[in-house]
């Protein structure tokens, strides 16, 4: 009888244990023909970062935490402001807008998140790569709707930043221990996703992406956020050469 239950558990685990591996890849990519020289003298618009922080329940569901999110947003904005000096380009901040203008920016931020997620899940992750993306160039776009943003701001490029952090709850951590102890399954606790991407606002094309679905740095602390931003902007092509050398 016991063997039956154990077999059922092992079957469930063997089917599902591969899932965390799908999110364990750090990868970056640059669009063909784009380089740091292409950026020279061009204004970069820093879109308002998308920040989400919460807890992961025992069953793996995400539960938002408004205080953590507000604090992480504050730390992220401060860290990005502090690092502006390292950019070789003029960096402008997303303007405060209302109505349809605000929607134009917020929807493009959301579209960037969807595009970056697709890049990670359907091109970067070899185990789930789409056949039409196999051995193909890095060719992703937000579409020409970004032109309207270039016209409103005077920026040719847009820098998007997204972080999503789910910290494992006590129940999730206990579950993790139980899963390892009872059936030897490697269940993940917590989720720490970060994307940073540069888009040519004249074409909508994604020209640089740094995406990691297992990022480091506790975004609820200032030091942790410094580490996170460091990872997000690793290999960013718009840094001054001296800053790159100092890293």
């Amino acid at each position: 009888m016991m063997n039956k239950w154990l077999a059922a558990a092992i079957l469930a685990v063997s089917f599902l244990v591969m899932a965390p591996m799908a999110h364990g890849q750090e990868k970056g990519a640059v669009r063909e023909g784009f380089s740091a020289e292409t950026l020279s003298g061009k204004k970069i618009l820093l879109f308002r970062p998308s920040v989400w922080v919460g807890e992961q329940s025992t069953g793996g569901l995400a539960e938002p935490n408004a205080d953590w999110t507000a604090q992480a947003r504050e730390f992220l904005n401060a860290e990005l402001a502090r690092r502006q000096i390292e950019f070789s380009n003029e960096l402008i901040i997303e303007p405060d807008l209302v109505g349809e203008d605000a929607k134009l920016f917020s929807e493009h931020r959301a579209l960037f998140n969807s595009v970056a997620s697709s890049v990670v899940n359907y091109q970067f992750f070899a185990g789930n790569r789409l056949p039409t993306r196999k051995n193909k160039a890095f060719d992703w776009t937000l579409g020409e709707g970004t032109k309207a943003i270039a016209e409103r701001t005077g920026a040719q490029y847009g820098l998007f930043v997204r972080t999503e952090d789910q910290y494992g709850s006590f129940g999730r951590k206990m579950f993790q221990v139980l899963a390892i102890g009872l059936v030897g399954a490697g269940v993940s606790s917590g989720k720490h996703v970060g994307y940073a991407g540069l888009v040519d606002l004249h074409t909508g094309n994604l020209v640089w992406l740094n995406a990691d679905e297992q990022m480091g740095g506790d975004v609820r602390t200032e030091e942790g956020m410094q580490k996170r931003v460091g990872q997000l902007l690793e290999d960013f092509p718009g840094f001054k050469p001296v800053a790159t050398a100092a890293k």
């Binding site: 239950w5 558990a9 599902l16 899932a19 929807e107 579209l111 056949p131 039409t132 579409g143």
Partner: protein, 196 residues
């Protein structure tokens, strides 16, 4: 022993409820070749990727990932069958198809099914009108929605027909920005040319 067994069951149940987002097994659907998708014959203009089953009698195709564009084909759903897999049977059960539904009533069936499958609270039917699908009388449903915790407006266009008491559906959806319009002409052509 009993405690140990309960722990094992607990682990198995929670793991089983934990749905993995990585679903490998994509298959290339070549351009200009007729593909047999269950009970339907579909001829795409470009290469597509065929993925898993959103429902027992359904298949999904995508170009750039299902978050950016997707077309689903459902074949011969019998009376009592559902369009999509159950997501939350207790709180949001998947509607069952009734072969006695009139054409206009299919819009409501589709809306309830799509809402339940995607756990949507924001979904609006923009237009519902008679149409042709694979030479059969059908219903065209154009709709708009947003996913939970996402500001991106998404649009969709579905065609539904009942043939010999069974339901056939083709459903295209994508973000409103760029992707929906970019893929719509081919999606419409595939839906119109589909053969049963």
């Amino acid at each position: 022993m009993a405690i140990h067994r309960r722990s094992v069951i607990f682990v198995a149940v929670v793991l089983a409820a934990w749905s993995p987002s990585a679903s490998a097994g994509w298959k290339l659907i070549s351009a200009k070749e007729t593909a047999q998708v269950d009970g339907l014959k579909v001829t795409p203009e470009r290469d597509w990727n065929q993925g898993g089953r959103p429902g027992k009698q359904g298949r999904v195709w995508t170009q750039d990932g299902v978050g950016l564009n997707a077309i689903e084909f459902f074949s011969a759903i019998p009376a009592g069958g559902s369009l999509y897999k159950e997501r939350d049977k207790k709180n949001n059960p998947m509607p069952k198809f009734d072969s006695g539904l009139l054409l206009p009533e299919l819009a409501d069936f589709f809306e309830r099914s799509f809402r339940a499958a995607n756990q949507l609270s924001d979904f609006t039917i923009v237009e519902s009108a008679p149409t042709d699908i694979g030479g059969n009388k059908g219903l065209l449903v154009r709709y708009r929605y947003t996913m939970p915790n996402d500001e991106l407006t998404r649009l969709g266009e579905a065609r539904l027909a009942v043939v010999d008491g069974k339901l056939f559906v083709a459903n295209y959806y994508a973000p409103q920005l760029h992707y929906f319009g970019a893929g719509l002409p081919e999606a419409q052509a595939m839906m119109q040319r589909v053969r049963f």
